[in-house]
């Protein structure tokens, strides 16, 4: 296992104080991760040394920018073992990836009577775009339920997945339960009925090895900002034939081949789906993030997170009145969403913040999940490559202070 204290020195923010005299304990990586200096520096190098628009330029700056932009695409493609960089399409965030597929693939392939299968534990990003699509087309949404322990109830899957199912879109890892779903099995089951598959890998790609050739989904989405990369950039991976067939999503510069006043033809993949000036610095930053994670090794990242999650679940079980939702550590990513009897999650988060501990409180963009549990909110601590057992200990101390303030 790598030396977590060495990793910590890679992150400038980890030496910042949350409040004067109070060191920061950042346990909110599932919402957005911190960035190592290498990522910040890569973007600075672009802005300070070779900032220019890409693709259309002949001068040195534009040439360098294009090489850096397309070079990053190649490394990101390799990071998820995509067969070809042209299958890596840059979007703003995972959310846009779902919307792109819903508009471009959905509007041409979904009609009344078709079914779209999701799960009850989806992030709004993998729910609302399909609701909009279903409303427009008359398709029906169906949901794989989850069990009390936060794992999927697959007992009725053979009914839920049927010949009307055109799409099965599900999360690889729940951002609330932490559940690691059996993605490969689900994809295979969907393929048997001829359904297209889409994987929400927003909480998977940052935390464990993801190999799209092994998993073989039709579409897969993730966000840079959750994996050491900058904001404003994310990836839609797609099967090549599907992407070739799909009409463009947005129109504009760079995505065209030829434009006349009467009509236009489209550029090749991946640019067909990248209209306008791309997020150049952001792609370069994500490229640096992927380099950083590769150098740590995603196996190592997973191992460290499993170690910390085990430790945390153990430690949290000692806090009276605290209940972590989700499955046992062996099926769980580095996320602990919990309730504490007698204290509202908001108050927990605020009191922890007074101790420098950053956790999230709310529905974590998974209202239906919370609703089913009869909760409006949970508090959530989430762990990443730089989380230490000392930080988990501080969390437990902080929670005990919450209990004290609330006279529990």
């Amino acid at each position: 296992m790598y030396d977590v204290n060495k990793v910590r020195t890679d992150f400038p923010i980890l030496s910042v104080e949350a409040h004067p005299g109070v060191p920061l304990v950042y346990l909110d990586s599932a919402a957005s991760s911190q960035k190592p200096a290498a990522v910040i520096d890569a973007m600075n190098a672009y802005y300070r040394g070779y900032n220019a628009n890409v693709h259309r330029g002949i001068h040195r700056l534009s040439e360098d920018a294009t090489n850096a932009y397309e070079g990053a695409r190649q490394r990101i493609s390799k990071f998820i073992n995509s067969p070809d960089p042209c299958q890596v399409i840059f979007v703003r965030n995972a959310t846009e990836a779902f919307n792109l597929v819903a508009y471009s693939w959905g509007r041409t392939n979904i009609s009344a009577g078709d079914e779209i299968l999701l799960t009850e534990m989806e992030h709004h990003a993998n729910l609302v775009p399909w609701q909009l699509l279903a409303e427009e087309t008359g398709a029906t949404l169906r949901f794989v339920p989850f069990l009390e322990d936060g794992t999927l109830d697959l007992s009725d899957l053979s009914n839920l997945l049927n010949e009307r199912t055109k799409l099965f879109s599900f999360t690889a890892v729940s951002n609330v339960f932490g559940t690691i779903n059996p993605a490969k099995q689900l994809i295979e089951a969907a393929r048997e009925v001829g359904a297209v598959t889409m994987v929400d890998a927003a909480q998977a790609v940052p935390h464990m090895p993801v190999d799209v050739q092994e998993l073989d989904p039709d579409f897969l989405a993730f966000s840079s900002h959750k994996m050491c990369g900058p904001t404003g950039i994310g990836v839609l991976y797609g099967g090549r034939d599907l992407l070739e067939e799909m009409p463009p999503f947005m129109g504009g510069g760079d995505m065209i081949r030829r434009v006349t006043l009467e009509g236009s033809t489209w550029n090749d993949l991946p640019w067909k789906f990248e209209a306008g000036t791309p997020s150049i610095a952001e792609v370069i930053g994500l490229g640096a993030a992927v380099d950083y994670l590769s150098q740590l090794g995603m196996d190592q990242v997973l191992e460290h997170e499993q170690f910390i999650t085990n430790y945390a679940l153990e430690a949290l079980s000692e806090v009276k009145g605290l209940k972590v939702i989700g499955p046992a550590p062996s099926q769980k990513g580095g996320v602990a969403a919990f309730t504490l009897e007698g204290a509202h999650p908001h108050d927990i988060a605020e009191l922890l913040d007074e101790s420098g501990i950053a956790v999230r409180a709310g529905h974590h963009c998974a209202m239906p999940l919370h609703h089913k549990l009869g909760l409006t909110a949970t508090a959530r601590a989430s762990f990443y490559i730089h989380t230490t057992t000392e930080e988990v200990d501080k969390l437990v101390q902080g929670l005990n202070r919450v209990r004290q303030v609330f006279r529990l």
């Binding site: 908001h346 605020e350 409006t376 303030v405």
Partner: protein, 132 residues
Amino acid sequence: MDSSVYREQIIDLYESPLNFGELEHPDFSYEEDNPLCGDVIRIEVKLDENNRVAEVGWSGDGCAISQASASLLTEEIKGKTLDEVKAFDKDELLALIGVPLSMARVKCALLSLKVLKAGAYGLPDPSVMRDQ
């Protein structure tokens, strides 16, 4: 713990809220939640013949800040005219709460006022109250 926003008063009100409960035949009532956090507050008001607040009850679910705010607000408006309720300023409420709040928590604190005003104006659409 001096720096904490969780003064004794807030915790007291969280444990023992004021005016908690529902009224039989309110003159107006309104319910809204802060969808970003799930706090939900319902306020019901009975006016007397002079259009003054005769009875007020609130119910709901939420954090200590939103709950304390509902207690303090409902206590404060008793006896006020409908026009005074409509004119009730958010800074007055924040002063009643009396602890410095971050932007996110200001929303918790003001949910009760938003609900009250929406009810007082008889508005069907909560979103028009956004700027209050």
